[in-house]
Structure formats: C-alpha cells, structure tokens
Symmetry: C2
Subunit: 142 residues, 2 copies
Amino acid sequence: MFIVEDEKIIELIPFLKERGLRITPQRILILQTIISIKGHPTVEDIHQKLPYISLATIYNNVKLFLSLHILKELPYGNGLSKYELANQPEHYHILCESCGEIIDFNYPNLKEIEHVACKLTSFKIHTHQMEVYGLCPTCQIQ
Amino acid sequence: MFIVEDEKIIELIPFLKERGLRITPQRILILQTIISIKGHPTVEDIHQKLPYISLATIYNNVKLFLSLHILKELPYGNGLSKYELANQPEHYHILCESCGEIIDFNYPNLKEIEHVACKLTSFKIHTHQMEVYGLCPTCQIQ
DNA sequence: ATCGCTGCAAATACTTTGCAATGGG
DNA sequence: CCCATTGCAAAGTATTTGCAGCGAT
C-alpha cells in the first residue's frame, strides 16, 4: 500500500462515520481493494481478491458506496458492471470492443455540451460521461 | 405506419436476404415495433407489444440485429439494456437519473476526441458515445 | 447492550441454450 | 425438401433479499 492510497481510505472513514455507518473490516477491505486495483473492477474482481468475504456483502457495500457517491458505476461491460472511485480527476474512458478493457484518458472537459443539452431538453443537468470504443493494442494484433 | 417507417423495413429485408438470413414474420414484427416505438425500447418493451412472440426469439433476434449493426445497444438502463436503430443521424443521449428515460439531442460531432484518444492509448478507434445525466422536466417537479 | 452488518441460502431477474417441431426459400 | 428459425422449458448468470447470529460503537 502506498501513501496516496492510505490517504484515500483515511478520508473515507470519517465520511462513513458521520453518516452513522459502521466501519467494518469488510468495508475497509473492499475499499482498499478497489483503490489498490486502480482499474475498473467488477464485483467478481473484488471477490477474487477477497474470497473470504461473502459475495452478498460485496454487492451490498458496492451498492451502498454508489449511493454515497464514493463509487461510480460503469455499466458498459457485457452485462456485468464495473466500478471506479468517484473522487478522481475528470477523465473519459476508452473501451476495447474485443476484450472489454477500460482505460482512462484525459481530454478537456466538455461542459459546454451540458448547456446545450439543458437548452434542448429542459433537463436539470448533473454530469456527463463519454466512452470511445475501439480495439486495444493487444487485440489489434490477434 | 408511416412511409418513412415502411422505407426502413423495405431497406432491411434485402439486407437480411443478402446474408442468407430468413425473413420470418417475427423478424419483420420485431423490426417494425422498434421502428414504430421510436424511443429506446428494452426487450421487455418489445415483448409487451408482441406478447405472442416468444421472449427467447426476441432476445435471439435483438442479438442478431446487434451483430449486423442494425441495432445499437444502450447499456445504461438499470441492468436491462435499451436498443435503438443504428442507421440514424448522429446524436447523443440525455438520461433522467430518476425515471430512466432517454432522450436524443443533437450536438456537433465530437470526432476530435477520437483522435486524441487514439494518440493517448494506441487503440484503433471505431466510434464514441456520450451521455448527459440529469433530471427530466417531469421528475424535477416531483 | 443495541441494532447495523455479515453470511448463508433462497429468491429473483435477466438472458442463453438444447432440442423437437415448424415453415421460409 | 432442407435447414434456419421458432418456442418451450431448462439452465445459466448476475444480483437481491430474509433472517439468524455476530460484532462495532
């Protein structure tokens, strides 16, 4: 574990406590695992790293973290959702259509599109996401 | 049924035939239903309009149409995917976080982001999608 | 000591599959 | 007539739920 990762956990503990939620070993481990994986793990990925924690507990806590906006859901994976930390710098995703891998990339924030969408649809805008689809370097070869 | 809709079906029939696929009443009805709904139906929506067609047949054909790029999958819906016709003018989607409705809106094509993503990740780019999230006018009131 | 959380097992939801019967080409 | 397709039922996969017992506060 690195310092940056520990800092993230240390910020999250009081955040949970303030909301009357208990700091269980399972919650700490699930969060640590998501932080240390760095990518965009599925529930199954988390369970493989923490096989002694019940799948139901992982599902319940991922759902809890989503409702607290600690996690973001990436529903593009073939049926199974992937998750990432919510408090990250703004970025977009590129997805491999062959192997399903998701990579982050930076691009100037497209906030302008939110104004246009608001004018055209009268929605109250909250956020936006963008995904670029293609073939990753590995899958291009094969 | 309107002329534009019939034209779409009429284009699709030879497209299927050329590929050695059979023109079954079920396929015609499923396509007509998706065209006439205009929105972004789920498999369940299609089945409600065509209850006498087996769910399995609807799933199988939706999958077939996806592989033929007649349909596009919109995986944002809570677990269940929504579908739209693929041969539509370029547009983006705005999603209501409360009721799940998806509305199309126009915005100048963001092809530039594909070049940037390509340079940064070495992916071979195919396409991109963008979703804006917010509250629809109806859900803002409630 | 309380009551929120965990873990199990069962239930649910969505989708795919095996296979006999059907019907489009 | 042949074989792709349909429809059913069963299986598969992902997720949620009920509840007894545990353990964080």
